[in-house]
Structure formats: structure tokens, C-alpha cells
């Protein structure tokens, strides 16, 4: 038998109550494969607070601290302080929060934790809306998307604001390591996790987390969508070490329409709107290339 390209050991039991085809399930699975058993995960209100199942069911093989919605940054600070004062070493503290719990309500606490150089890994699994509460828009919902609070309807009222650029926000915090990951590229994902694990200080991972009910995709296409996001460059794969950009996968450069057409949440967009979206994606990609080549 050929050797597996990612670590074999599983740190999750079957029986999680995530939807069929849930991207977040994969994000956690790959994260823990990279971090191993000596990990403590702090989870705020989000899909993952529910996925381990009703009490007393737990689908993870590592300890979990469930917290209030906005508190992830503070919780990981408290966890690390307790471990330090007790002299417990060689433990990875992880904050595992959704996009809403990070860029909106959780931004303050995360920013504080990053500024204090808290020794922890913060993973934002980005399903691009408040999915646990039923697909309401968040600051991380992309331009053009349907959500229940940007419902399109007769007024063509999709989300008109751009997606908050959390990676640039983290760059401004001058943390030692940040990276984007996609479940379609598990080797790249886990390599970044393993790299982050070895670094001390505040590390940030932005994980794309396709959501079939929220994105209106067929569950079987979760990996395909996560792959197209990278190949159309709307979600490029890169790292920032001490703020320096390094692209880890250039992607094929496919037109954005390939990504949009498999998702029901973008079906209402007109050709001019798709063109403007293509331009925005192209501009962002050029900016990223410039960041990489200029060494900033």
C-alpha cells in the first residue's frame, strides 16, 4: 500500500452532526492531523459548538472548551496563561471560530490576543456567513452573495459590501505567521499547520469552509468548490511570515464564472456584475503578487 500523503491518525470520531459534505468537518480533521493529541481547542458559538453532538457526545479526541460567542481571543489567552503558570508545556492552544465569531463579534478579542502575542493558533473556518443560525450575512460574506439577510428578492438586494480582508488585518498585527488554507489541498493545509505548530506566538489560519446549505451547492461538490476558489484566485493560497507574503499555490487562473455557476447563492448575478467581480478578483490577485515580489 502506498504511504498516505497526509498523517493517517484520526482525531475525530464519526457521528458528528455536521451537514453531509460539511467543509468545516474537513477543516477540523486536517487541523488536528497536523497538530496531534497535545492540543486544546476553544470553540465559541458556531456550527462547531453543535457538531460534536448533544451532551454528553464529543466527536473529538482532544479537550474542548466551549465559550460565549465573542470570547475566543480571550479564552485562548486564559488557557495559555493557566498552562504557563502550571508549567504544562508542549501543548498547542487553538481557538477555532467561524467567520462571524472572528471578523464581526470576535474581532476585538482576537485583536487583543494577537497584540498580546498570545501563544496560540487561531483558526477561522470561513463558511462566509452566520451559518449556524441559518445563513445570515457576516462581514466575511463575499460581494454578490445571497444570504437570508441579503435576500436578493425583487430589489436585486444581494450583499453589496466587500468581504472583510482578515489576512490584511492580521498582517497589520505583525504576527509571526498567518496562512490561507483550503480543504481541497490537504497536503498544503497540513504542511502549513505543521509549520504553524512549531512557531511561538500568535498564529492565524484562514480556512475556506464550503457550506452546502449556505452556498446552495450540491454536497458532493464541497471539494470541487474549495478547489475552484483557489483556481479562480478568489481565495488564493499563501502564507505571511512576519508579514511577508509567500504564495504557496498559484492556481490555474480560471474565470470566476466557473466558481460562481456551481453555487446557488450567486445565481442572480448579471453579466456586468460578474465582470466587475472578475475585475475585483484580478486586482486583488495583482496586489497579492505585488506584495509577494516587493517583500512586504
Amino acid at each position: 500500500m502506498a504511504k498516505t500523503t497526509i498523517p493517517e491518525e484520526e482525531f475525530a470520531f464519526p457521528g458528528s452532526t455536521g451537514c453531509p459534505g460539511c467543509g468545516a468537518n474537513l477543516v477540523m480533521r486536517y487541523l488536528l492531523k497536523g497538530l496531534g493529541e497535545r492540543t486544546i481547542v476553544s470553540i465559541p458559538a458556531c456550527c462547531w459548538a453543535v457538531m460534536p453532538g448533544y451532551w454528553p457526545s464529543n466527536c473529538l479526541k482532544v479537550p474542548i472548551l466551549y465559550t460565549a460567542f465573542e470570547a475566543t481571543g480571550a479564552a485562548i489567552s486564559g488557557l495559555r496563561a493557566a498552562l504557563d503558570v502550571k508549567g504544562i508545556e508542549d501543548v498547542t492552544v487553538v481557538g477555532f471560530a467561524g467567520d462571524g465569531g472572528t471578523v464581526d463579534i470576535g474581532l476585538q478579542a482576537m485583536s487583543g490576543a494577537a497584540e498580546r502575542r498570545t501563544d496560540a493558533i487561531y483558526v477561522m473556518y470561513d463558511n462566509e456567513a452566520y451559518m449556524n443560525t441559518g445563513i445570515q450575512r457576516s462581514g466575511s460574506t463575499p460581494w454578490g452573495a445571497w444570504t437570508t439577510t441579503t435576500p436578493v428578492g425583487n430589489t436585486h438586494d444581494y450583499k453589496h459590501e466587500s468581504k472583510k480582508d482578515i489576512m490584511t488585518i492580521m498582517q497589520a498585527h505583525r504576527i509571526p505567521y498567518a496562512a490561507t488554507v483550503s480543504p481541497a489541498f490537504p497536503e498544503d493545509f497540513i504542511k502549513k499547520v505543521e509549520k504553524a505548530k512549531k512557531i511561538k506566538g500568535f498564529r492565524f489560519l484562514h480556512a475556506l469552509s464550503p457550506c452546502p446549505p449556505g452556498w446552495r451547492t450540491n454536497p458532493k461538490l464541497t471539494i470541487e468548490v474549495a478547489r475552484l476558489a483557489v483556481d479562480t484566485r478568489i481565495f488564493p493560497l499563501y502564507e505571511m511570515e512576519q508579514g511577508r507574503v509567500h504564495i504557496t499555490r498559484k492556481g490555474k487562473g480560471l474565470p470566476i464564472i466557473d466558481y460562481l455557476k456551481v453555487q446557488g447563492r450567486f445565481q442572480h448575478l448579471t453579466e456586468p456584475e460578474i465582470s466587475s467581480m472578475q475585475k475585483a478578483v484580478d486586482d486583488s490577485w495583482i496586489m497579492l503578487l505585488l506584495k509577494e515580489s516587493s517583500g512586504t
Binding site: R38, S42, W55, V62, A75, S77
Partner: protein, 395 residues
């Protein structure tokens, strides 16, 4: 060692002697010198703790919750808007059965902005499941912090506690305080060692989702914890007295209530002033007494009922207004008194809000008023004391 210090420093020394291990705090007037002093203790190494200068009070409590769940003894301090900002996570801390100890420097809520003493911030947290100790002296602040850890960490209680200092009156006023030796405190208060905590490699989830068929049983257990706190407070205080030769009156400190015709119930520093007024009035032959509400949670129901069964008139001074039918402390005192065989007349005085001074003269007038309505046999429910524009003069 006998020192002269402010209430805030008494809090800091209390937390230091209790060997708090993780301190997460955010500055707010008039709590700031507590946290500054503790930061100093940590930076000199006098206190072996991790100090997290968090970016908000909500995060302060969230960080304490996380650290406590991981097995560390935690402490924080706040006031007014900081306390109310924490409201969500205060409820979390008690539901999670974490014996966190916190000082709240009780200060008025805005608007209008005010930095002065008022109990609205503390009283508004009476529903959160925290034990509440209203202190009358800086000595009591230091002693109660040490006692609170012992009370709360016992298996039957496992609830958080707030120790309340009156803003400026205690927090910034210096009084003589006996600071015990560390070794003696260590003999009284052992290290924190909970049965269940986050441990690397142990797959446990803390704070999970519970269906309607089981939620009530968890709340019932929390209620039992608060109930157990009543006896535990008395026992721990006796142990404290045995070692440190000091006590502070249990849940309800009674001053000259045994043969009183009328008793005033009050909390905080005003109760200390009221005791002097009781002495002065007793010299004049008036049979009055003072019952200091030391703990508002657990509510001293038995103790209130014991007084109610013997007096003809009671009054409750609320240093807060919470927009209910009447003041919060009054409402609970009256409800407790109601179920006895003998029902005294009970009246509510709302006084001292936003730092308005409650002078000995005002207290004298209040006691006189209590005796009047007791004799008359009727009360006018709620009276606001010393409000400009109202006909009655109190000064």
C-alpha cells in the same frame, strides 16, 4: 503586619495572599489601583501569577473562565460599566461552576456619567449566580477575598464570588489593615485542585449543548450550590476567626438588634456609619438596631426572618434603584419577612445614589422616621431620601 491602606490595595493584597495564579483585568475608575498593584506584585515576582492585560472587561471574565477551567485560581476586578459589560459571562461563570473571585468597586451607572458610589451595578448582577459580599471596611475586603476562595472552591459550592467595595469611600480611603503572613494564609487556604478540569489528552468538552430534558437538573444543582454557600460561609468564617482572630458578621451582621423596636437593613459602608448613629440614638433612649446585609447572595433569608419575627418595624436602605416595584434589597427583605407569623411593617428608603453622601444626620432622620411609622402602624412603601424638589428635608 499592620499597614495603612486603601480598599483597593486591600483587594490586591487579598488576591496576592490567596495566591491567585491568573489575573486578567481591564482598567476602570475607581478599580485601577487594584490592578496596578497586582501588576507590580507580578513584575517583582512577589506574586507568581500570569497577568493578562486584556482589551475589555468581557474578555477579562472570559479569560478567567478559560484559565479556571484549566485548573488555575483566577482573580479579576472591575466596576460599574465594566461589570455590566461582563454580564453575559458572569452568568457563564456560575453556570460553569467556576469559583472565580472578583472585586467590584461599586460605582454608579451612566448616563449621567458618575464615578461615585452606587450599588446599581452590583445589584443588577444579583441574577447571575455569583455570591455577593458587600464590605464595610478595608479589613473586611482583604479578609473576605481570602475567605471567598475557601468558601467557593469547596465541592458543595463551586460558584464564583464578588467582593464589593464602595467606590472612593473604601477604594480610595486609607484605613488600618492587618495583613496576615503568607504562611498563615497558606495554612488556611490550600491550593486550588478541582475534580474536573481541562487536561491534555483527555477528550472532554466543557460547557456542552443540553436538551430541554436535562437542562433543569443542572440549574437545580447550581441552586443547591448557592444554598450550601449559606452554611459554608458561616463555617469558613469560624475557621478564619480561629486562625486570624477576626470575623465580619456572617451573612447578616446584627448590631444591637436583640431588643430593638425597629431595625434598619443596609449594605456597604453606610452600614458602618449607621452603627454610630444607632449608638447615639440608643443613648437618647431610642430602641433601634442595624442589620448589615453582608451577603446579598446567598440571600440571608433565615436571618431576616429571625429579625422580622421580633420587631414591629423594619426599613431597608437601597443604595440603588432598579426600576422594580421598589428597591431590590427591600423587595427581597419584605418577601422574606412576609412568610413569618409576625409581619413587621417594612419601608424602603432609596438613598445615596451616584455618590450622594448619606450623612449621620440623614441616618438619624431615617431612624426617627422608622420609629414614627412603626408606632403609626402603616408605611408609605418607598421614599426617596434627599432629592432636591421633594418636600421632605433630610439635611
Amino acid at each position: 503586619m499592620r499597614m495603612v491602606m486603601t480598599g483597593n490595595y486591600a483587594s490586591a493584597y487579598g488576591a496576592k495572599l490567596a495566591r491567585a495564579e491568573v489575573i486578567a483585568a481591564y482598567p476602570i475608575t475607581p478599580q485601577t489601583s487594584i490592578v496596578e498593584k497586582l501588576a507590580e506584585f507580578v513584575s517583582t515576582g512577589e506574586l507568581k501569577a500570569k497577568f493578562i492585560p486584556v482589551e475589555s472587561e468581557h474578555s477579562a471574565m472570559a479569560a478567567c473562565i478559560a484559565a479556571q477551567t484549566a485548573g488555575a485560581r483566577t482573580y479579576t476586578a472591575t466596576s460599574s460599566h465594566g461589570l455590566t459589560l461582563m454580564h453575559e459571562v458572569l452568568i457563564w461563570a456560575s453556570g460553569a461552576r467556576l469559583p472565580i473571585v472578583m472585586t467590584n468597586v461599586s460605582r454608579a451607572m451612566a448616563p449621567p456619567w458618575s464615578v461615585w458610589v452606587d450599588h446599581m451595578d452590583s445589584v443588577a448582577q444579583r441574577d447571575t449566580g455569583w455570591l455577593q459580599f458587600y464590605c464595610q471596611s478595608n479589613q473586611e475586603v482583604l479578609d473576605t477575598i481570602i475567605m471567598a476562595y475557601k468558601i467557593c472552591e469547596s465541592g458543595g459550592v463551586m460558584l464564583p464570588a464578588m467582593i464589593i467595595e464602595d467606590a472612593f469611600i473604601l477604594s480610595h480611603t486609607s484605613e488600618p489593615v492587618d495583613v496576615p503572613e503568607q504562611e498563615v494564609v497558606d495554612s488556611f487556604l490550600p491550593a486550588y485542585s478541582p475534580e474536573l478540569k481541562i487536561e491534555v489528552g483527555k477528550a472532554m468538552g466543557f460547557g456542552s449543548l443540553v436538551k430541554p430534558d436535562q437542562y433543569m437538573e443542572f440549574r437545580y444543582k447550581a441552586m443547591l450550590g448557592m444554598k450550601e454557600a449559606h452554611d459554608r460561609i458561616l463555617r469558613v468564617e469560624q475557621e478564619f476567626k480561629h486562625i486570624f482572630a477576626r470575623e465580619h458578621g456572617g451573612l447578616l451582621e446584627r448590631y444591637r438588634c436583640e431588643d430593638a423596636e425597629a431595625v434598619l437593613v443596609a449594605a456597604g459602608s453606610v452600614a458602618a456609619t449607621a452603627k454610630d448613629v444607632v449608638d447615639a440614638l440608643r443613648d437618647k433612649g431610642m430602641k433601634v438596631g442595624l442589620a448589615r446585609m453582608r451577603t446579598f447572595r446567598p440571600f440571608p433569608q433565615e436571618e431576616i426572618r429571625a429579625i422580622a419575627s421580633k420587631v414591629d418595624g423594619m426599613a431597608v436602605l437601597d443604595r440603588s434603584y432598579t426600576f422594580g416595584a421598589a428597591g431590590a434589597m427591600f423587595t427581597e427583605v419584605k418577601a422574606s419577612a412576609y412568610s413569618g407569623q409576625k409581619r413587621p411593617i417594612v419601608k424602603n428608603y432609596i438613598a445615596g445614589l451616584g455618590g450622594r453622601d448619606i450623612t449621620p444626620k440623614i441616618l438619624e432622620r431615617i431612624f426617627e422616621d422608622i420609629l414614627v411609622f412603626t408606632k403609626r402602624g402603616e408605611e408609605s412603601d418607598v421614599e426617596w431620601v434627599d432629592v432636591a424638589g421633594l418636600p421632605r428635608k433630610w439635611r
